[in-house]
């Protein structure tokens, strides 16, 4: 089984926000929810770099560890998904996540946040693959259609890579070798190691 990962090549990202738009349109994400965002460092000065960030589907996911209702699970592909029927909207996953991935449709008084929403690696949720309920709650399940995440597919400069971790690491290694610079893989240390246990699939909670 492949271990799915995201990789953003900061030497290539041009901050076009195509990935953000692709994600919103693919999943019909509600207003105010941003499953993906592009962050620019040193904006307008030498050394400007942009990075596209979403859920990194961590090996040892902090969101999963702190969830009081245990609504997260990991697929065989290493994708971290959650069950919106169980989610109580406490916000703990948002406090724990290093990447700011968990989103809430509202930030209301008395802690009324609604159900958490986040990047699914275009892999839907616990509902039946490609069902109407799955689309309505989690967006399209492209992995079930044999496709890769829309954001990475749509990336105009192929800065954002999404897929089998070994394959995208090879692509990136070749790039670094050819251009002779820019070997920094942002977020990989935090999301996939070192010293983090390998992704062990945990079955979807039976709801």
């Amino acid at each position: 089984m492949a271990r799915m990962k995201f990789l953003c090549d900061a030497e290539r990202c041009i901050e076009c926000n195509g990935c953000v738009t692709a994600c919103k349109s693919e999943h019909e994400v509600p207003w105010g929810v941003n499953r993906r965002r592009v962050v620019t460092i040193n904006d307008g000065v030498p050394g400007e770099k942009s990075i596209s960030v979403a859920c990194m589907h961590c090996s040892d996911a902090p969101c999963m560890a702190v969830c009081p209702v245990d609504c997260f699970y990991r697929t065989d592909d290493g994708v971290v998904l959650h069950d919106k029927d169980l989610c109580i909207g406490c916000g703990y996953c948002f406090y724990a996540c290093p990447f700011g991935a968990p989103q809430f449709p509202q930030a209301g008084a008395f802690g009324l946040r609604g159900k958490m929403d986040k990047c699914t690696f275009c892999n839907g949720g616990p509902e039946k693959d490609r069902s109407a309920e799955e689309f309505q709650k989690y967006g399209r399940n492209r992995l079930a259609e044999g496709k890769l995440p829309a954001c990475a597919e749509m990336c105009s400069t192929k800065a954002l890579l999404g897929g089998d971790g070994d394959v995208i690491a090879d692509i990136y290694r070749e790039r670094v070798f050819k251009r002779g610079k820019g070997s920094e893989v942002w977020g990989w240390g935090t999301a996939y190691g070192p010293g983090k246990p390998a992704a062990a699939p945990s079955p979807a909670p039976k709801s």
Binding site: G32, V39, T40
Partner: protein, 345 residues
């Protein structure tokens, strides 16, 4: 020991990030190291990457919202370690230990009884106002405690028993109850406290009560006290005033995410909220024990507001003397002469 040092370091780190002043203005270039590096080594982006790995830096992004410009916040991992580590483990064991100790006291010594027979004459101990305020805070406290415990321990204790569907439904209900009952508890305490302050002011004989408390429970020795004894006063100032204040302030910060608190604020606040609430529950277990099964007829005072004269004399002798000598009127205020007396049993 190294673990403890690490924990302290985490707590300090969390404290530092709690101050928004530590975060620089959004998109402001930190320095021009990269520009200088570019002159000599055009391909070297090391200064940029050093920058990126820094904690809590806000950069430029088109996505609106709180902290969307932050690339990585490692404090979340720290918070996770504190929550899933000491707070859950020590908190859980502390509750089990206190329950075991109370059960031990009950089954080895039994409930505390009066030496003499009840006289049948009742004395007013709590006004109706005091009882209503106390019942409101008592019930809301129990709701908060149970829902809080389910949110911290339910995943480990309840979920394996109930299964996901029932637990998800229950947790959702309890989370909302927790959020709406919290302010009720705070209000009831605010209403209750001014009434009870005067009789909870510490007196010299309260120290004597503490010295003899164990002998009282173990050998049923007589220890005189005012309207409230040393233990009740410690509970009043430490928990009803102190811990309510701490857990209410932290609770209100957590309750209103609409004011755009940062994650660092929420993490630190959560830690204080959880610890103060757990301490509150631990002491409350003792308070509830002596108020119900631990001391015979103490519950009558909470329920009806009246106690037997024997009970008053043996548990709160100075108060009994004051009442008898007419140095003070009925508890906390007016109970008109000839007011209906509560029947015993």
């Amino acid at each position: 020991m190294p673990k403890l040092i690490r924990l302290t370091r985490w707590a300090l780190a969390a404290l530092v990030f709690a101050f928004p002043a530590a975060a620089p203005a959004q998109g402001k270039p930190a320095d021009n190291t990269q520009a200088e590096r570019q002159q000599t080594q055009p391909y070297n982006n090391a200064p940029v990457w050093r920058e990126v790995r820094k904690e809590g830096q806000e950069y430029v992004t088109t996505v609106k919202g709180r902290e969307t410009g932050v690339l990585v916040q490692s404090a979340g991992e720290t918070w996770r370690q504190i929550r899933n580590g000491p707070v859950t483990v020590w908190g859980g064991f502390a509750i089990l230990i206190v329950v075991a100790v109370l059960a031990g006291i009950y089954f080895s010594f039994g409930p505390l009884k009066t030496h003499d027979k009840p006289t049948g004459r009742l004395m007013p101990r709590f006004t109706q106002f005091e009882r209503w305020a106390h019942w409101t805070s008592a019930i809301s406290f129990c709701v908060l405690a149970v829902s809080g415990l389910v949110m911290l321990f339910g995943k480990h204790v309840l979920l394996p028993v109930t299964g996901y569907t029932l637990f998800g439904w229950l947790a959702s209900l309890l989370k909302n109850l927790h959020n709406f009952v919290g302010p009720v508890f705070l209000l009831s305490v605010i209403v209750m406290v001014p009434n009870l302050v005067r009789d909870n002011l510490p007196k010299s004989y309260d120290f004597n009560w503490f010295a003899k408390a164990w002998a009282m429970f173990a050998r049923n020795e007589h220890v005189p006290s005012g309207r409230f004894n040393g233990g009740e006063k410690a509970w009043f100032w430490g928990c009803v005033v102190g811990l309510t204040l701490l857990s209410a302030v932290t609770g209100l910060i957590l309750l209103f995410p609409n004011f755009d608190q940062t994650r660092a604020t929420m993490q630190l606040t959560w830690i204080f909220h959880a610890i103060s609430a757990l301490l509150f529950m631990l002491v409350a277990l003792g308070h509830i024990y002596v108020g119900t099964i631990g001391v015979e007829d103490a519950y009558q005072a909470m329920r009806s507001g009246y106690v037997d004269e024997t009970w008053a004399k043996e548990h709160h002798e100075y108060w009994y003397n004051e009442m008898k000598s007419g140095a003070r009127s009925a508890a906390g205020g007016a109970v008109p002469a000839g007011a209906p007396r509560a029947e015993r049993k």
